[in-house]
Amino acid sequence: MKTKTNSSVAENRFIRTLYQYWKYRYLVILFLPGIIYFIIFKYLPIYGLVLAFKDYRFLDGIMGSPWVGLKHFREMFALQSFWEVFRNTVIISFYNLIFGFPAPIIFALLLNEIGNTHYKKIVQTISYLPHFVSWVILGGLFMQFLSPSIGPINILIKSLGGTPIYFLADPKWFRAVLVVTEMWKSLGWGSIVYLAAISGIDPSLYESASIDGAGRWQKVIHITLPSMTPVITIMLILNVGKLVNDNFDQIFNLYNPAVYKVADVISTYTYRMGLENMRYSFSTAVGLFRNVISFTLLVIANQISKRINDYGIW
């Protein structure tokens, strides 16, 4: 009895939905190019991930290439170079999280304490600037800036009697360079969301705190910071989700074979293996591995955040 009514209900609903599409056909016309774009350029590559389980052969295409199961994954996990790359990714991201995550928050708090509006505006404008310059350009810029022969930092070191440091070619220094330049680039821009959160705080909270005799420091601790918590949480979730999403542009433009050992990360490895050495299937397996980890991290972080403070990104 169930099946019949169910199927006719489903049929009815299907026809009603079709009618809805027809009723709003002009909206459908607007909607189609965009959704077709997403299906072709976003979902076909997701389908293309099956390559990780096949041996890609150019002439056979993705569909026709033979299945090989987990061969590429087994190879990947057995490779020492892969684990080195994985470790680099996690270490660099971890440093970026520890140093890079609080920096814009502190910057926003300090900026909020600047009373002179003009000065504040100027500082903001200047601090956003590096965000607009690509890593290719910054790569060229830092290459000269950190150069042992003509770079001003090394000229300073030399004039103080020290020996010049090969910042971009010395494995001991390279990760520090990555973390510092990343902070340099994103500090100001990253502070915008926090400044937005601060500007949304009800001024009467500060007034009543002043009446109660709270100093500036106490207001920051008891009003500003707690009001920023939701934004900070969301940003933290996003950052944790990105722990294995390395900064390809930055690393690719700054590194060189001398520092591969400490700087080769999953995305640069995927590029070198896949597009330089043409190992498409192996590279896809590496990329898939990273995607799955980062997606899982994001879901877990979101879940934890929901449990702790009822607030998640979905």
Binding site: Q20, Y24, V28, L30, F31, G34, I35, Y37, F38, F41, K42, Y43, L44, P45, I46, L49, L51, I62, F107, L111, G115, T125, I126, S127, Y128, L129, F132, V133, S134, V136, I137, G139, G140, L141, F142, M143, Q144, I150, P152, I155, L156, W184, L187, I192, V193, A196, A197, G200, G215, R216, G241, D249, S267, L275, Y280, G287, L288, R290, N291, F295
Partner: protein, 294 residues
Amino acid sequence: MAVRKASKGEKTFDVFNYTFMFLLCVTTIYPFLYLFSNSLASTEIAQTQITIIPKSVTFENYKRVLTNPLIAAGYYNTILRTVLGTFLSLITTFALAYPLSKRYFPNRNFWTGIIVFTMFFGGGMIPTYILVRNLNLMNTIWALILPELVSAYNFVIVRNYMMSLPESIEESARIDGANDIIILIRIVLPVCKPILATVALWIAVWHWNSWFDSMIYSQKAEKQVVQLIMRRIVLEGSQQVMNMSTMDESGMRVVTPESLKAATVMVTTIPILMVYPFIQKYFVKGVMLGSLKG
């Protein structure tokens, strides 16, 4: 606000805070100024200075860079992709966001979910590369425009903005018999101007700064964008620089490879630095709009 007198500790903090902010600004700008001064330097002067005022100024470096045919072609490709790409991206993004901002659009949550999912999971480098190659887009401008035509993030921001508009503004046009496409163009787009300007700038700067897609999709040098040409000249230390610094009519080397490289970087940076102060506020507005209504 400041009724209470500032305490000694607070005054010290203020001094520290103002100084710290000043130093931060210097740190941000100095590398650019340093490189700029380097790009104006001739011969050995570039080797020794920390100051940003060049001891002698020459425009020879810029002349060499700007007369390089690859840089010119690169500029052309960059401008083409930026203009065409931004235009097409805007049309598609707004056309997609409008229907999905309507509560009555069938399966709206499903379609939105389909789009938002791509923010968190994707095929990645190799499958996308193979797709672009299979579509025969290699060495065409479309390889630089189509793969990132609509960003899910921009879509969400535009859709949220449209959802915050009152229904009533569309009603009179609907009574007059206008269809949804006309309503979008005549009524909705004009009130979307702030978000339109923001998203347009985001896409344009993204296109301007892109280079990786050009590197993997355009093998022919004359099809590559200026950022990539710059990268090849400066980072890969390609033969280009050497040719540029030695092929001098008089046989004298008036320029050093270092200052030539600096000039090359500057040629790609200066356009951004010039428009930046004017466009900056729109960017900030967009981030606010995006962050406040998540």
